[in-house]
Symmetry: C2
Subunit: 227 residues, 2 copies
């Protein structure tokens, strides 16, 4: 079993098993939403795709998402995991700046795609170990560039896998080891807006949810993610 | 002054000042060759380009380079810095797997392009500080993937710049801080052939050469590099 980390979408590689990470906030939010009782999340790269799905699904779905960390106009929720502690519909249609795109892309290159975050750190690492296949951890990054919060989380997963590692996996583990805890690892980031302190505290809680969202199928242009 | 690191060619960005790094071994070798008295290095992405230039320049040039760490058939030297301690001609025509490509690519996106390595660590960092412009450190990587030896060197330069940093620059510094010395940083790499121990020891010597090779102009398809 070999483990690799793609720090940016441009260097994403194919692998039998793929773990997508967007700590702030898409994958943390999807993990939380499914753990809270949403039956599925439809992950959309584009805002218009989300709107079209909402049109089709009506009250069976709610729309969530952000651009530049701001709720999308006309959407019913933003992209904070704290907005999805109680299910408001069967389906969450989600579109974010980086994460939902990364999920859609991952489905093209990986045999099985799951979502990782600090919230489900132990669960996702345990599943990867159980699968035992070559694994790539795909960091969503920020606007196609390297994001250190995702690299931190990737490094934490690498450390739990005990697999043979590529240079990028070794580097991710070195990055994770630099910070005494997850809040410091996330706060090492230099991008993004201020004012997300409560979300940072939320997504930095480790292994509090024992769920691993997985890609099930494409629903139109959206990646359907469920438990 | 802002500092960014591109860990792979795919995520290379434009900047006023670019520092190309291929510790094992292209940029270390070019730094050494120019410090040893070669007047210029013609950095070629393709083997055929190097052969055509040799045809044109004759005895005024020697050819050096490698693919898969093996000397290219018909070339007069390999790609070890230890082969260029005495000038055997005015011009070194060099083509390597990753580094010489990265140099050619960098000339397309950066206003000024220089070469960095551990051998000229202090000199290249001092020049970047003197320029004071936004700087991108472009890691050659290994076959388009992340290489931790280059990331290590990038992190060492970041630490010397004292500039505002992007996430990738913060991460590079974290990677460099993980290793007690340059030999350990280079040996963290998981790629490449065995048997380069003497070259590793050579290129790990820090700030022993006070030269900064810079891109001067294109000579056909080759990037002309000189002091």
């Amino acid at each position: 079993m070999r483990c690799h980390v793609s720090f940016t979408p441009a260097e994403a590689v194919s692998a039998p098993f793929g773990i997508v990470i967007d700590v702030m906030r898409a994958t943390s939010t999807i993990v939380q939403a499914l753990a809270s009782g949403y039956r599925r999340v439809l992950s959309c790269a584009e805002i218009d795709d989300a709107r079209a799905l909402k049109e089709e699904l009506g009250d069976a779905a709610i729309t969530g998402g952000e651009r530049e960390a701001q709720r999308i106009v006309g959407f019913e929720a933003g992209a904070s995991p704290r907005e999805f502690l109680e299910p408001r519909a069967e389906t969450l249609i989600l579109s974010t700046t980086n994460g939902t795109r990364a999920i859609v892309s991952a489905t093209e290159g990986c045999g099985e795609v799951v979502l990782g975050s600090l919230l489900n750190l132990d669960a996702v690492a345990a599943l990867a170990r159980e699968r035992g296949e070559d694994t790539v951890i795909l960091c969503a990054g920020y606007k196609d560039a390297f994001a250190i919060d995702d690299a931190y989380c990737a490094g934490r997963i690498v450390a739990l896998l005990g697999a043979e590692r590529t240079d990028a996996a070794v580097a991710a583990e070195a990055i994770a080891a630099r910070y005494p805890n997850a809040v410091d690892g996330i706060n090492a980031r230099t991008y993004g807006p201020p004012g997300l302190e409560e979300d940072i505290a939320w997504v930095a809680r480790e292994s509090v949810l024992d769920v691993v969202p997985r890609f099930a199928r494409m629903v139109g242009p959206a990646a359907e993610v469920m438990l």
